[in-house]
Amino acid sequence: MCATPLDMYLSQNGIKFEAESTANWRGYQGYWEVKGSDELGYRLYLVRLSACLKYPKRVGLDYLFPEFSNGVFAHWVTGELRCPQGKRLHYVHGGYGSTYEEDLFLSFKEGVLQGTRLVKNEPPPPRSQEDYPPYLRSGG
């Protein structure tokens, strides 16, 4: 998922994790699920957490939510979350800049799923050296 819906919870509670490596500066991985039924609606749940508290000590969901170690309803989430799917078409070294075959957008209102939309992506047109400023060109 190309979004960090847990960040707001962490900042509200003044919690910071330690970056274990340059591959994950935020210091944690959250595992999310959309659960529910057509009658009751679908909701976003944080079902697992692997966070680096102080290297090499890792903590799980029970560290943040001691009474809800099986899952937490993310009722603070409003907005669209992007879930890339399929092959990676173009790699960008940083953030969520890479392009994948499809993007599934899940729209939530206070943690409750409102709708979804699927966007099919094309690989971005190749860029020539002239598209970059001189100091970023290769072989210069």
Binding site: A3, P5, Y9, K35, G36, F68, V72, F73, W76, T78
Partner: protein
């Protein structure tokens, strides 16, 4: 004769102060230039933005004019410097102030703690949220309330999607809702309960 001596004495004092100031700021500028010049030159070479002869000449002219002002109109220069320092200090204090998502324009209406808590209970059929005010955010809410002083007002706020928040110049993708602690018309704390 005496008048002339007195006048020239004062003139010398005036000019001496100008010379002292010019020497002080000149040496400082030179040190700063030497410290940054080698890095700046290499950066300009890489970027292909080496200053032209015209740029260099206008630079020299600028320095010459500034020197004349410091030397002969130093009271004006000192006043200008004082204003600049005061502005800098003010900006520094502004930068040090804590930043909040909420800005004045997003404040909607004043509420009491009870009113805020009344509609904050979360329904979850799977029971994965506590049945307390603001659910999993209850601890953050309590921390926020603990800092609420008697003179503070509690305001509900809403930031519409696509707006600029007080923390970022990038427009928000979704709406944000929360409560702000307002003291003498200034936001001094906030609690966000809905965001992306």
């Amino acid at each position: 004769m005496l008048k002339m001596i007195v006048e020239s004495f004062y003139a010398w004092i005036y000019v001496s102060i100008g010379i002292a100031l010019l020497a002080y700021f000149g040496i400082n500028s030179l040190i700063e230039y030497r410290q940054s010049s080698s890095f700046l030159k290499s950066l300009q070479e890489v970027m292909g933005t080496k200053p032209s002869l015209k740029d260099q000449l206008s630079n020299i002219a600028g320095y010459f004019l500034a020197s004349l002002i410091i030397l002969f109109a130093w009271p004006i220069f000192i006043s200008w410097l004082g204003i600049q320092k005061w502005k800098e200090r003010k900006e520094q204090l502004e930068r040090r102030k804590p930043k909040f998502y909420c800005k004045q324009e997003y404040l909607r209406h004043q509420v009491t703690t009870d009113q805020a808590e009344r509609d904050s209970y979360i329904t979850d059929p799977l029971g994965m949220t506590p049945k307390i005010a603001f659910g999993h955010l209850n601890k953050a809410w309590c921390t926020f309330l603990a800092e609420l002083e008697e003179r503070d007002e509690l305001w509900f706020y809403e930031i519409p999607a696509g707006s600029i928040t007080g923390k970022s110049y990038v427009p928000t993708k979704a709406s944000m809702k929360g409560y702000a602690r307002v003291r003498r018309n200034e936001i001094v704390g906030e609690f966000v309960y809905e965001s992306d």
